[in-house]
Amino acid sequence: MSQILMAAGFADPVFDQQATFRAAMWALSRPGRVEPIRAGLAPPAPLNAEAAALVLALCDYETPLWLDPALAGAPAVADFLRFHTGAPIVAEAREARFALIAEPVDMLDFYDFAQGSPEFPDASATLILQVDAFTAGLVLEGPGINGRTAFGAAPLPADFIERMAANRAGFPLGVDLLLAGAGGVAGLPRSVTVKEG
């Protein structure tokens, strides 16, 4: 693997990481609101720029990372992520602290990822789902939302509402979702209630 062929990481690692983190932070603080990500990355396909920015901002050698089959099938993706973050890429979804999902429609069940424990609910996975567009059709309630808010993204698993309901029912255990694409990121923490809009 030649370094010359490697797609570039952040132009300004300190400030680009900070800005991307802030987008993720506000996204999880205000579920459903899309926060812009401007990182200017051109990662190898099928990894999208927004998801790549989140991984580069949040992952390092301390965070086992899992890739869905679509991403794992493209070795350049793992090389890119490993080179820029040092994160160990794991084959077992349950071992991952971050999971990167390029094809949400076919994704594993939420329960296949670490849920945390009653004593340490923070020891749970954060799932980064690549989306093409932010749309509508859902209504969100919960911490971070002033009343209720409309939300939507595509593509998502067909049983998304049921999955999110089960995830909410397990609170304080559960996974947290970052939906990345279309120039931004939206957050769906485990505390959110998702309903049909």
């Binding site: 990481q17 999880l28 002033n146």
Partner: protein, 358 residues
């Protein structure tokens, strides 16, 4: 580093906002989990900071992890921007992050605080970072982390209610006046840091993001914006906050938290806004309290003169800028609820203030 005791030592340089990037990522990941599980204390590997544990290292680490070049930072301690520790922490970030600072709660994007929530209502896009000494609300009931962790896991908070109820039985009041426990989003009982319980209602449904950092105890927790935060209470003893009997002596504000300033050794005292920014803003808008100068005159500092480093006279000056006190509007109302020792105490007959315009 080798020993080169005779030569100059090499300059030491630090990263933006002091922390290295790996440490920031670790803290940032903890912040994200804290937001996802409101009120739950996320363990994090707090670093040693160049200020002592207990002096805001948790808040400083959280601030350092969120801060970016476009932020405008405000730091308060006891509500005031010019308290020594607030000055020291603000100076730290000016030096290590070259970030813009302000004393205005409206202009700030990040506010680091110790013991107060600003009086000026916070808005969306603002981040309030609390310095936390003891993050565990159950600590004084059960000192063991191994036990309290279980109690949180089981949402077993009966112990806390028993403690509060014992207060009522014994004193007729809940005797907790600060660091008053709250329930966040219907699940976790949380210590809001040692803010007076006067500030507790501001925690609820707050548009800003509230982050809590405890460095020595290595915990981070959060309240997302617009989150239900309920102060624990009982049906027959609802949660109530302290009321002050009089307005701020400088800006005449009511319904705000006041500092009591001792004016002399004869029981003289005045009450002024704890939030200096809020007080100054009101004074600039023309509001005048009992002890304020005439409009147009420089108003006296609402705070006691800060500590001076041992200097010309080597003394610590703790007296307020305006010495003496005004004719009181009536005995027993200087913020002191009528008590046997203040109301009608002949010893507290007061002279007109010297050096103050009434």
């Amino acid at each position: 580093m080798n020993a080169h005791a005779t030569g100059a030592m090499p300059e030491i340089t630090y990263n933006f906002a002091y922390l290295d990037e790996q440490t920031k990522r670790m803290i940032r990941r903890a912040i994200l989990k804290a937001i996802a599980v409101p009120g739950y204390q996320v363990p994090f590997a707090a670093r040693e900071m160049p200020m002592p544990y207990g002096w805001g290292t948790g808040g400083v680490q959280v601030t350092a992890a969120v801060l970016g070049p476009d932020d405008v930072l405000k730091v308060i301690d006891q509500g005031a921007d010019d308290t020594t520790n607030a000055v020291a922490i603000r100076g730290f970030f000016e030096k290590t992050a070259r970030v813009a600072t302000t004393t205005s709660a409206r202009e700030a994007t990040v506010i680091q605080t110790r013991h107060r929530i600003p009086e000026t209502p916070l808005t969306e896009n603002q981040i309030l970072v609390y310095q936390v000494p003891i993050p565990e609300p159950l600590r004084f009931l059960e000192p063991r982390e191994t036990e309290t962790r279980q109690l949180h896991a089981l949402a077993e908070y009966g112990l806390m209610h028993v403690k509060l109820y014992e207060d009522i039985a014994r004193h007729g009041h809940i005797a907790t006046t600060y660091a008053y426990p709250v329930e966040v989003a219907g699940r976790y009982v949380m210590d809001p840091s040692p803010i007076p319980k006067f500030d507790n209602p501001k925690l609820d449904d707050c548009p800003a993001l509230q982050l809590f950092g405890a460095g020595r105890e290595k915990r981070i927790y959060a309240i997302p914006p617009f989150t239900r935060v309920r102060s624990l209470d009982f049906e027959d003893h609802p949660f109530r906050v302290q009321r002050f009997a009089q307005p701020c002596a400088l800006c005449a504000a009511t319904g705000v938290y006041l500092d009591e300033v001792i004016l002399d050794d004869k029981g003289g005292r005045m009450f002024v806004c704890s939030d200096t920014d809020y007080c100054n803003e009101r004074q600039e808008a023309g509001h005048r309290g009992e002890m304020a100068g005439e409009a147009g005159r420089a108003s006296p500092s609402p705070q006691p003169s800060p500590l001076r480093g041992e200097g010309a006279d080597g003394a610590l000056n703790l007296s307020p800028t305006g010495k003496g006190r005004p004719e009181g509007p009536g005995e027993g109302t200087w913020g002191v609820p009528t008590t046997p020792s203040s109301a009608g105490d002949p010893g507290s007959a007061r002279a007109a203030p010297s050096g103050m315009t009434k």
